[in-house]
């Protein structure tokens, strides 16, 4: 009983809020370009669903590709750096500096470097940059988070550095790396959307372009529709990554 209530509660809340919104729009007669009623947003969604879906896929596939690249680069770099303390110390400040720099601040320059004719390349690169850090720091932390007694055991049996890496450090890092991918997935979408905004041309047919295009034309209902699709997509990606993380961890630990 309370279980069903708990699942129903958020749905109920959204329904109530939408109802209030709809009523408010109807009663105040606020212009649609300023605040469209939920029914208008729904209509925009129904009308443009094919285009919205194609745009969403464009943004999502960009983010996923960026996630794959970021994963490859971040894991390899963390592996190399973890083998050498001095190297790690040298790289750390640089990594932090890059991490705290907002992606919008570097986006215009990246767009220029990628070539104005290739907004796709700029968008991927920027998404890779934001997805890189959570994976990198997760992997680096994980590679150093081995149980000291297990390290002693490997010392005791004269393990080679290679054996230690393959049989102790990399497996120890796995949960951290998975967590990093989960965070990076969400960030890759944000990175891709921000980059699409900055690239700001019809050359990229992602969701950000749908938002820009409709808001430039004051088609606010369409803007809302695109934003809703964007957040649904983000939530879906998060859920998928979360579920895969848990499934992999369950297999990994045996429960």
């Amino acid at each position: 009983m309370s279980r069903t209530l708990e699942t129903l509660a958020p749905i109920l809340l959204v329904a109530v809020l939408l109802g209030l919104w709809e009523t408010a729009c109807y009663l105040t007669g606020v212009p649609a370009y300023f605040l469209p009623a939920p029914s208008a947003v729904a209509a925009a969604m129904a009308q443009d669903w094919a285009l919205l879906l194609a745009s969403a896929w464009k943004t999502l596939s960009t983010a996923l590709l960026a996630l794959a690249f970021a994963s490859l680069i971040a894991c390899s770099l963390a592996l190399i750096i973890s083998t050498n303390r001095l190297l790690e110390k040298a790289v750390q400040p640089l990594a932090v500096a890059l991490q705290v720099t907002p992606v919008v601040a570097i986006a215009p320059q990246v767009v220029i470097w990628a070539g104005l004719a290739h907004p796709d390349r700029a968008i991927i690169s920027l998404a890779v940059i934001v997805a890189f850090f959570p994976i990198f720091s997760g992997a680096l932390t994980g590679l150093k988070s081995t149980d000291p007694d297990l390290e002693r055991l490997f010392d005791l049996y004269g393990a080679t550095p290679w054996q230690r890496l393959l049989r102790l450090r990399i497996p120890s890092a796995t949960p951290f790396v998975l967590e990093g991918h989960k965070v990076a997935g969400g960030l890759a979408v944000i990175g891709a959307v921000v980059a699409e905004f900055v690239a700001g041309s019809g050359g990229s047919q992602g969701l950000a372009w749908r938002i820009l295009e409709s808001s430039n034309r004051l088609q606010t209902a369409k803007t809302f529709a695109a934003v809703i699709v964007l957040s649904l997509m983000g939530a879906l990606l998060h859920a998928v990554l979360q579920a895969s993380e848990q499934a992999i961890l369950r297999r990994f630990r045996g429960r």
Binding site: D147, D155, Y157, G158, R253
Partner: protein, 249 residues
């Protein structure tokens, strides 16, 4: 009886902490079980790490005759690789030494059978109870047939019944190859039950405060826990410990 390992006049100091151990002497002969008892922080684990060759003393000499792979350590926690099943965990020392995987896993299976875990071969550490995990840890220590077995409070996290069962298991397994054993514990009765010789340490820095030799067969005969010999030994160790802790002169 030949010596397996010894610490002579060893001292260990840590930067910012001063001397934590020594001067300290301990000689282990073949097939001997020695228990090390003492207050927390008196340097028991440190002495064990010296014997294992995992750490070098600041002063004094450590002599070790076992070759690489002939020394085994069991820690307070089972210290298993959580991602690997019991057999893979036990096979680790053999595989690190370069043994072929199939052969190593066969021997690991054998070692698991010896500790009564033939049904848990494919279980991962999270699926095992505390006592079972400690058995896996013990199997991993014994799989290389060590000449020197170092146990650092292996029962600390276990309940009384499991401790008693494991104590007898360790004796039975010890009897098969008779390695020299150092058994660290906080528990006076456990020390008197496990060992032929109980060394009591005092702290700051860790030194020998007293020794008790227990003249009774190993493995322990049934009913040993209620015997006169056991009671006297436990009392003697208890007395040494009280002295080490400054409770009596």
């Amino acid at each position: 009886m030949s010596q397996v390992a010894s610490l002579s006049a060893v001292e260990v100091a840590y930067p910012g902490r001063g001397t934590v151990l020594g001067p300290f002497d301990l000689a282990l002969t073949e097939g001997e079980i020695v228990a090390l008892v003492g207050p927390s922080g008196c340097g028991k684990s440190t002495a064990l790490r010296l014997l294992a060759g995992l750490e070098q003393p600041t002063a004094g000499t450590v002599t070790r005759t076992p070759e690489r792979g002939q020394t085994a350590v069991v820690f307070q926690a089972p210290t298993l690789m959580p991602w690997a099943d019991a057999r893979t965990n036990v096979a680790l020392p053999l595989e690190l030494a370069g043994m072929a995987k199939v052969k190593a896993r066969d021997q690991a299976q054998e070692a698991l059978r010896a500790v009564g875990l033939e049904n848990a071969i494919g279980s991962k550490p999270a699926q095992l109870s505390g006592g079972m995990a400690m058995r896996v840890s013990l199997a991993r220590a014994l799989v290389t047939r060590p000449r020197l077995l170092l146990l650092d409070e292996p029962f600390a996290a276990l309940d009384e019944i499991t401790r008693r069962n494991l104590a007898d298991d360790i004796h039975r397994l010890w009897d098969q190859t008779r390695p020299a054993v150092v058994f660290v514990t906080h528990n006076v009765e456990e020390a008197a039950y496990m060992a032929q010789r109980v060394v009591v340490m005092s702290a700051n820095p860790g030194k020998i405060a007293g020794q008790t030799t227990i003249d009774a067969p190993l493995p322990r005969p049934p009913g040993f826990r209620t015997s006169e010999v056991f009671r006297n030994a436990a009392e003697a160790v208890s007395h040494d410990l009280a002295k080490a802790m400054g409770q009596i002169q």
